[in-house]
């Protein structure tokens, strides 16, 4: 290895570039910037204001924070639903007045004051909701106007009744306790804020109405077309926002025991800035209560801090204006460009030096030398099939194969001219196997491991395994289940080829060449799925050895076959039995005479082998070139290889004509004939094997019975 290559290997194999892309796929990265701002804000103001972190100071500022967070939580819900509510400030003020007047002027009990405040909020919210939700008015302007109306009404009320409130003698312990008391050191507003935040969070993430809000905000039209009652959902978000504003209004009423011209002034722009700075998207669908809370803390700490630091009139507005503009701009730009950034950085190729291989050239004299025998295969279902990745035959000689339309098609013996859709599974059925009870087990691409009973009942067996501890992206889900086989004890061994890409992006996985393939086992006794092997380059075909004590598993991009031991001294370990093949192996199946068939989906090329030693080049390629011009494994020439129990190659079949089966992803021997499938083929091939045991069948080989 040259020094340059060694550097490349270190650079691309040791630095985990792929984590950047994986982290960017996480939705919590949206929170990272607001959280950083939060930390910086609190730290810098905490450092510059003496006594900022003293308990008493904290308690006083958190009281205000509690009230403010409640308002922001309400506004967040409205924004998640795709709207905006600027009238929170006046609803807040009106609710304060309602509570204060009920308590001081009418001298009613505290709970009546609470009911009055909440009723005010709900009514105001309902008016907003009716105008914006049902009449479809523009949220921003409409709530701006209801804000002015509410403010005007509040000003009139304060002018007329403000004096009555101040001169009232009413008092109550409960009122004072809500305003000044603490429970375990927490003031009532803080507790209220936490309770409301938790309830709202749970409702948004785990309840039907909450999902409806997110759906409407995410795509109003799709939500409408999906049958969600969009107008009612929008209406309810405004009612909720009004309710939250009124709760906050009640809290401040008890704290200040009065209402004046300053009550709730500028609250709308504060709350709006908080919601947006926290990272809630304008236009809805993206955001959370937590973001709203972070924004609330940032904004309140900053504005209060500026006042306490003695900056003059106007500084707050200036800072708020800058924060709002910057946050909105970042939000818009980030939403627009996030997927571009992700596309740019997700593919992170690694260095690999493939081993020297034997030639597969026709007439080269090696065991791998391709010939033209497969071109003699006749065809089944020509033009009717699309993508029979795997084929299998049952005891009655019927032929089954999957299609890219998510169906399992059955061709009837003996001439295989008649066919029917045996079952519709969905996804892309790949590997097939029959179990002892003649259930057809299939690895369905992008879905998981499925079982189809003889009477066509489709059942999901497994779609996930245990998550590994170091994973960033959830690797519990099976992204690319590829092939399966069944041990004598009924356990199903299957592969999941990659954790990084979905099944249709297999070409990207080959270009990246990162080892993330897994071998898994599903135990039908308890329904559990376990990961046995991890970190292989696209694990593909699986085949149980004839004695049932070990299995063979193909590692496509490394051109290797491993034997995984189920019993014996090496149980639980894997060893490489065939390496440096000239082709990329796909499915492996049993052959008569104690041998095994293995498909080559394509052949290695010197150019791609070379590119594997230049990860930087492959990275640039995926970024700068259109997909059609990428260099990835050749899949236009393949073949079928027969090997024995020790991994020695017995013979190799090919189709040099390129007409019938240039690429092969699977093959099954059945009564002296070889049935050939290919994921890009429009047929199943049938080839008469010279000198094969004409009584040998797969089901009998696995489960015994009549040969």
């Amino acid at each position: 290895m040259t020094f340059r290559e060694r550097l490349q290997a270190w650079r691309y194999n040791l630095i985990p570039d792929h984590l950047v892309g994986e982290i960017l796929t996480k939705r919590w990265t949206d929170n990272a910037i607001p959280f950083l701002v939060l930390v910086v804000t609190v730290a810098s103001f905490g450092a510059s204001i003496p006594g900022f972190f003293k308990p008493y100071s904290l308690q006083e500022s958190t009281r205000q924070l509690g009230e403010f967070s409640v308002v922001v939580t309400g506004l967040t819900v409205v924004m998640l639903g795709g709207g905006i509510d600027l009238s929170v400030g006046s609803i807040f003020a009106l609710a304060t007045f309602a509570a204060v007047s009920t308590f001081f002027i009418f001298e009613m009990p505290v709970w009546v004051a609470l009911v009055a405040a909440l009723a005010t909020g709900i009514v105001c919210g309902a008016i907003n909701g009716y105008l914006v939700g049902f009449l479809r008015l523009r949220a921003f302007l409409t709530t701006l106007v209801t804000f002015i109306i509410g403010r005007a009404i509040f000003d009139i009320l304060v002018v007329n009744y403000g004096a009555d409130i101040q001169t009232s003698m009413a008092s109550s312990d409960a009122w004072d306790f809500i305003g000044d008391g603490t429970v375990f050191g927490f003031s009532i507003p803080v507790i209220t804020a936490i309770v409301i935040a938790v309830i709202t969070h749970v409702a948004l993430t785990r309840s039907r109405p909450g999902w409806h809000v997110l759906a409407v905000g995410g795509s109003r039209r799709s939500a409408h077309n999906a049958g969600i009652r969009v107008k009612r959902t929008v209406f309810l978000t405004y009612v909720f926002s009004g309710l939250c504003a009124s709760i906050a209004g009640f809290l401040i009423a008890t704290r200040l025991s009065g209402a004046g011209p300053g009550t709730g002034l500028n609250l709308e722009i504060l709350a709006l800035t908080a919601a947006v700075v926290g990272g809630n998207s304008l236009g809805g669908g993206r955001g959370s209560v937590v973001k709203g809370l972070m924004g609330a803390i940032i904004v309140l700490v900053m504005t209060n801090g500026l006042i306490r630091l003695g900056y003059g009139t106007g500084t707050n507005q200036m800072v708020l204006g800058i924060m709002l503009a910057v946050a909105v701009t970042i939000d818009i730009r980030w939403l627009k460009n996030r997927h571009k950034v992700l596309n740019e950085v997700y593919v992170a190729p690694v260095y690999l030096k493939m081993g020297e291989t034997q030639s597969a050239l026709p007439g080269s004299g090696t065991a791998y030398a391709l010939d033209n025998r497969l071109s003699e295969a006749d065809h089944i279902g020509l033009g009717e099939l699309e993508g029979p990745e795997d084929v299998i035959l049952d005891r009655n000689d019927h032929l089954y194969c999957g299609t890219r339309h998510g169906e399992i098609v059955r061709f009837f013996a003996p001439d295989y001219t008649r066919s029917e859709v045996f079952a519709h599974v969905g996804g892309f059925p790949l590997g097939l196997a029959f179990d002892r009870h003649e259930n057809l087990i299939s690895c369905v691409g992008a879905m998981g491991l499925y079982s189809i009973s003889p009477d066509r009942e489709v059942k999901k067996l497994s779609a996930e395994t245990a998550r590994s501890w170091t994973s960033v992206v959830d690797d519990a889900r099976l992204r690319d289940p590829n092939d399966c086989d069944i041990a004598p004890d009924g356990r199903i061994y299957f592969t999941d080829s990659t954790k990084r890409y979905d099944a249709h992006d297999w070409a990207l996985d080959s270009i990246e060449n990162r080892a993330t393939g897994r071998l898994l086992v599903y135990d039908p006794k308890d329904g559990s799925t376990k990961t046995l092997l991890d970190g292989y380059r696209y694990l593909n075909g699986v085949c149980m050895a004839h004695d049932g004590k070990s299995l063979f598993v193909a590692e496509s991009w490394a051109c290797r076959v491993h034997r995984y031991w189920l019993e014996g001294p090496k149980a639980g370990t894997a060893e490489c039995v065939i390496k440096d093949m000239p082709g990329y192996p796909d499915n492996i199946n049993r052959a008569s005479g104690g041998h095994y068939w293995m498909a080559w989906l394509g052949m290695r090329t010197p150019s791609f082998d070379l590119s594997l030693r230049h990860p930087g080049m492959r990275k640039r390629m995926t970024r700068r070139l259109p997909q059609d011009e990428w260099l990835f494994p050749n899949i236009n020439t393949g073949g079928v290889v027969k090997f024995n129990d020790k991994g020695e190659i017995v013979e190799t079949l090919g189709d040099l004509s390129g007409n019938a089966h240039p690429m092969v992803t699977s093959m099954r021997e059945h009564k002296g004939q070889l049935f050939i499938g290919g994921i890009l083929n429009n047929r199943v091939g049938r080839y008469k094997i010279a000198g094969a045991d004409e009584s040998w069948t797969g089901p009998a080989s696995y489960w015994g019975g009549a040969q």
Binding site: R136, T142, A152, D155, G314, L320, G321
Partner: protein, 335 residues
């Protein structure tokens, strides 16, 4: 939209089937005017009518700027802040002894900068206009108030041309009325006869098609916000000229909503592409007559504000019915 008030085809103009918001507004304005003339003492006098026109001139000028932006499917919530704060800064510089020319250049470049910034964020960063201008309005007020001027109100320095300018009258009509008329005529010419003026309608009606048709949609957007900022500056100068000082507290008043009210109530659809200078004139007429009548009846300011905002809400609701939005065609994030 056609310019000028039609005169000789009154009959077809009053046809019920041809009714639209603009005509309704004009009729209501005339109706209120007639009723007030007969019932309110001192309403139908030359002095009062001049006072009405004068009171709406500044509002009307600001509404002209708003109209250009709204026709192009935007909104400018920073207009009042720019109006008050630019002039306050200008007067503060003069009071601090800076030469008039230098101060004026400095301020007008500041005004242009804010207009450009608004336009840039809306056009190129694709941030909704409503947020850009809300934020920039807040910033302009906060920055000027905290950094550049000393107190809420800044007086016009003694002997400055603005002091004299405020008292200028032709035919007993104050000068700002003429300026309002001249600006209205200029903007009418711009919107009606210049290429970019026509483009404002196309871009407001359907920005994507306008862009696909090859119009410079983004530079035009920037231009509109710059025009709006400049018009706000002119309105501020006139205000200072007539009051001999500028009070920055006007930013926190409901003036901004009065501007939107004048534009919207005159029939300039908020979804863009509709309306013209005539709508602003009608809207301003209605608001001017109404405010004047309410003042004569002696309705307190806070009630006036309630009445105005209720009318604005009604106008928005009517606008919603006249220009309904559809679930299938509404744009995501169009708030």
């Amino acid at each position: 939209m056609q310019g000028g008030v039609p005169g000789n085809d009154m009959k077809s103009w009053l046809n019920w089937k041809e009714m639209n918001q603009e005509r309704i507004v004009l009729l209501i304005a005339i109706l209120i005017f007639i009723v007030a003339s007969f019932t309110l003492p001192g309403f139908f006098t030359p002095d009062n009518i001049v006072a009405i026109v004068r009171s709406v001139s500044v509002l009307g000028i600001l509404a002209l700027g708003m109209a250009i932006v709204v026709i192009g499917r935007g909104i400018d919530l920073s207009a009042v802040a720019i109006m008050a704060m630019s002039v306050a800064w200008y007067l503060q510089l003069l009071n601090d002894g800076m030469a008039d020319g230098a101060a004026f250049l400095l301020v007008i470049s500041g005004v242009l900068a804010i207009g450009l910034l608004n336009g840039f964020l809306v056009a190129y960063a694709e941030v909704p206009a409503i947020f850009v201008t809300l934020a920039s309005g807040s910033f302009v007020f906060g920055y000027v108030r905290s950094q550049l001027i000393a107190q809420d109100a800044v007086p016009v320095p003694l002997g400055h041309w603005m002091q004299l300018f405020g008292g200028v009258r032709y035919f007993d009509i104050p000068v700002e009325v003429f300026i309002f008329a001249a600006l209205a005529f200029l903007i009418f010419l711009f919107l009606r006869y210049t290429k970019w003026g026509r483009y404002v309608y196309f871009a407001g009606d359907n920005p994507v098609s306008a862009r696909n048709a090859g119009m410079p949609v983004r530079p035009m957007l920037v231009l509109r916000y710059v025009i709006s900022a400049l018009i706000a500056f002119i309105a501020g100068l006139l205000t200072a000229a007539s009051l001999h000082s500028i009070n920055t507290r006007v930013v926190n008043s409901t003036l901004l909503y009065d501007i939107v009210l004048v534009a919207v109530i005159g029939g300039i659809g908020l979804s863009g592409g509709k309306g013209g200078v005539r709508n602003v004139l009608f809207g301003a007429a209605l608001i001017g007559i109404m405010l004047n009548a309410m003042t004569i009846i002696d309705i307190p300011l806070i009630y006036q504000s309630l009445i105005k905002s209720s009318i604005l809400l009604a106008a928005i609701i009517i606008d919603g019915f006249l220009n309904p939005r559809d679930e299938q065609t509404a744009q995501q994030g169009d708030i």
